[in-house]
Symmetry: C2
Subunit: 339 residues, 2 copies
DNA sequence: CCATGCTATGTGAGCGTTCACAGCAGTGTC
DNA sequence: GACACTGCTGTGAACGCTCACATAGCATGG
C-alpha cells in the first residue's frame, strides 16, 4: 500500500494501469488471460492489482460483453428434497467455475409465470438457464419460447431438442419392482406422484414395464401428491383391501405415510406387505422399519447440469447429454410374501 | 408493431424515445417514476415501451447507479430443512419486491470462505446481503468485516449491532420441555444439534431454563449433528440406560432416529419414554408414532428478512428487528410417565 | 414589465469495461 | 533494403443508462 494517496472511490482499471505503468487495455488483457502479454508486464499488473485490491466491475463488463457470468435457475418446489439438492449441486458447480447463480422460483407453474420468470432472468443478462421444473408441461412451454441463451433442463434430457441431464427414473422404478418380483410378489401396487410431474410419469412407466416383463398385471395404481399425508391415506386403503402384497411408493415421504398407515391398521411390514420407496433420503434408513428404496443423487444431477451448461457456453455446441443412474438400496421393508 | 423496420438488436431507450417522440431522458424519467412528467407524455412513452417490447438494460443501469436490484444470500447447508425453506421465503419476497436473488453457498464455514463468498457477492454489486449461516462464529466474522451494503442475519437478531430476524428458539425449546414437565416427567434428556450452531445453543438454553424453572436437573445432554443417524445412536444409549422418561430432540430427524432406536430396543413410546422433536417437518405427523414437536415457520423467517432488508434499503435506517415465534404441536409421542 | 419561481423537457457527460484498430519494435525472407 | 509477419502495447470509441445542468414555457407578484 505504498502507492500514493488512498483513493476515496474503489480502484478502477485506470488506477491499476497507472500503478503498473501500462495502459488500461493491458490491464484488461491480463485480466482476461490474453496471450500477447509479456511475462514481466503481466507480473507488474498483477502486483498492482493485489496492491490496490482491485476488483473488476461486473456491470461495466457485462454492459459491453452482454454476458454476466451468471447462470439463472428457474425452479419450483425449491424446498423439496429433490429440487433443493439439485440446486445445491448447481450452486456449487457454478461457483467453482466462477459463475454467479441467480434463482427465480415459480409459485405456480403456468405458461405465464414461466415466461415471466424467464424474462426476469433475461433482464439480468444471465449467460444460461438451468430449468428445475419437473413438469412435462414445461417442455412444451420452453419449446415455444425462444430464449437467446442456452437452456439446460434438469431431469429431462433429449426431449424435443432441449438439452438436459436425465435421471433414469424408469430404471430406478424397474429396479424397485424387479426386486419385489424376485422376492415372489405377484400383486404390486404403485403410489405415484402427481401424474403431471415428469418424475412421477417415468416411475409409473418403470413400474409398468417391470410388471409386464414379469407377466404381471399393473392393476393397482394410486395417484398421490408426494406428501406423507397422501401416502398415509393410500396405505389405509391398501390395508383395508389387502389386494396386494407389496407397494412401490414414488418417494420416501409417501412410503413413510404408507408405513404409518399399515402399522396403524395392524398390517405387518414386511411380513404382510412389503414397501419400497424412492429417493433414499437420509432419514429413510431410520424409518420403522428401515425403508428399502432407490437411491438417486440429486446433487450430482445439479453438478452435471452445470457441466453441460459450461460445455455449451464454451463450445457453443449442443453438449452431450448426461444421465444419472439410480440404484436400489435394500433395507427391512421388503421380504418374500408369506401367503 | 407498426413502427418502421424491426431492429436487429434489442431496443434501447433511444429507440423508445424516437417512437414516443421524446428524448431518452424522458423515457428514463417515466421508467423511474419521476414526478415531473405530464400524463400525456407518460402514456405515449409507455405505449412505445410496450410496442417495442423494451426492457431496460440492467448492466448499464447498475453501472451508473452502483446498485443492481439484486439481493445476495450467503448460506450454508442449503439443502437442510430450515435453510432451504428460509431461502424459499427470501426468494419469494425478494421477487415480489422486484429484486433478483443471487446465492453464494458455503461448503465449509471459515473466516476465509465467508470473506470469499462475501467478495463474490459484492462483485455483483448486490444491494444487500441476507446471511443464512446458523453458526455463532459467523457473527464475529461479520462484525470484523466492513461491507458497504446492509446485512441482515436470519435467525440471530440484535447480536452485536447486526440487524436480523430472530427466531425465539429458546421459547420453542421451553414450550417442548414445559409440556413434558406438565405431563409429570422429571428426568428429561436433550439431544442437541452441534453446539456450534446458534439454533442448537438456543434450544439447549431453553431446555435448561425450563428445567431450572421446574426445579429439575439438566443432567442428560447428548450432542448430535442433526442427522437421524445420530438420533438413533443416542436413542440406543438412552434405551440401554433407562435413566430418563422423556427426550427432547433438537430436530425432527434426530427424533426419528430416537423413535427407531427405542422401537428396536423394545422401549415403548410414549408409555416408557416420551419424545419431542423440533421443526414440525411435514413428515413428523406420520412418524410411528406421530411426533409431538415444535412448529417453526422458516418460510416466514425468510420473508421477514427481506422485509427488514427492504426497510433498510429504502429508509437507510437500521430497521426494527422482527421475531418469529414457534408453537408446540402435540401428537402421540408424549404422555405422562408410567412409573 | 421584468424579476422570480415552478413545471416539463432536452443536452451532454460520464459510469468502467471491452473491442477494433493502430503503432512499433524485432525477426525473418527474398 | 524493402517487405511481410509476429509479438506486444496503446488509443479511442462504443455499450445503455442516469445524473447534473440548461432551457423553454407559463404563471405569479410587485
Amino acid at each position: 500500500m505504498s502507492t500514493g494517496p488512498e483513493l476515496s472511490r474503489p480502484p478502477v482499471m485506470e488506477d491499476v494501469a497507472r500503478v503498473a505503468g501500462v495502459s488500461h487495455q493491458t490491464v484488461s488483457r491480463v485480466l482476461n488471460d490474453h496471450p500477447n502479454v509479456s511475462a514481466r508486464t503481466k507480473e507488474r499488473v498483477e502486483k498492482a492489482i493485489a496492491e490496490l485490491g482491485y476488483r473488476r466491475n461486473t456491470a461495466a463488463r457485462s454492459l459491453v460483453t452482454r454476458r454476466s457470468q451468471t447462470i439463472g435457475v428457474l425452479g419450483t418446489e425449491m424446498a423439496q428434497y429433490g429440487p433443493s439438492n439439485t440446486l445445491l449441486g448447481i450452486q456449487q458447480a457454478a461457483r467453482d467455475a466462477g459463475y454467479f447463480v441467480s434463482i427465480a422460483g415459480l409459485r405456480e407453474v403456468t405458461p405465464d409465470t414461466i415466461k415471466d420468470a424467464l424474462g426476469h432472468l433475461m433482464d439480468q443478462a444471465v449467460d444460461g438457464i438451468v430449468v428445475v421444473v419437473p413438469h412435462p408441461g414445461i417442455m412444451e412451454v420452453l419449446q415455444n419460447i425462444t430464449v437467446s441463451v442456452p437452456l439446460v433442463v434438469a431431469g429431462a434430457a433429449g426431449d424435443g431438442g432441449l438439452s438436459g441431464v436425465a435421471v433414469d427414473q424408469r430404471l430406478g422404478a424397474r429396479l424397485a419392482v424387479e426386486h419385489l418380483v424376485r422376492l415372489g410378489h405377484r400383486r404390486i401396487a404403485h403410489i405415484s406422484g402427481p401424474v403431471d410431474w415428469i418424475d412421477a410419469a417415468a416411475r409409473i412407466d418403470g413400474w409398468r414395464e417391470a410388471l409386464a416383463a414379469a407377466g404381471l398385471e399393473a392393476s393397482v395404481l394410486l395417484e398421490g401428491d408426494w406428501s406423507a399425508g397422501c401416502g398415509y391415506r393410500a396405505g389405509l386403503a391398501l390395508a383395508a383391501e389387502r389386494a396386494v402384497t407389496a407397494v412401490f411408493a414414488a418417494n420416501d415421504q409417501m412410503a413413510l405415510g404408507v408405513l404409518r398407515a399399515l402399522h396403524e391398521s395392524g398390517v405387518r411390514v414386511p411380513e404382510d406387505i412389503s414397501v419400497v420407496g424412492y429417493d433414499d433420503q437420509p432419514e429413510a434408513a431410520y424409518f420403522t422399519p428401515p425403508l428399502t428404496t432407490v437411491n438417486q443423487d440429486f446433487v450430482e444431477l445439479g453438478r452435471l447440469c452445470i457441466e453441460l451448461m459450461l460445455e455449451r457456453l464454451e463450445t457453443g455446441g449442443a453438449g452431450k447429454a448426461a444421465v444419472v443412474t439410480p440404484g436400489l438400496v435394500v433395507r427391512a421393508t421388503t421380504s418374500a410374501p408369506l401367503g
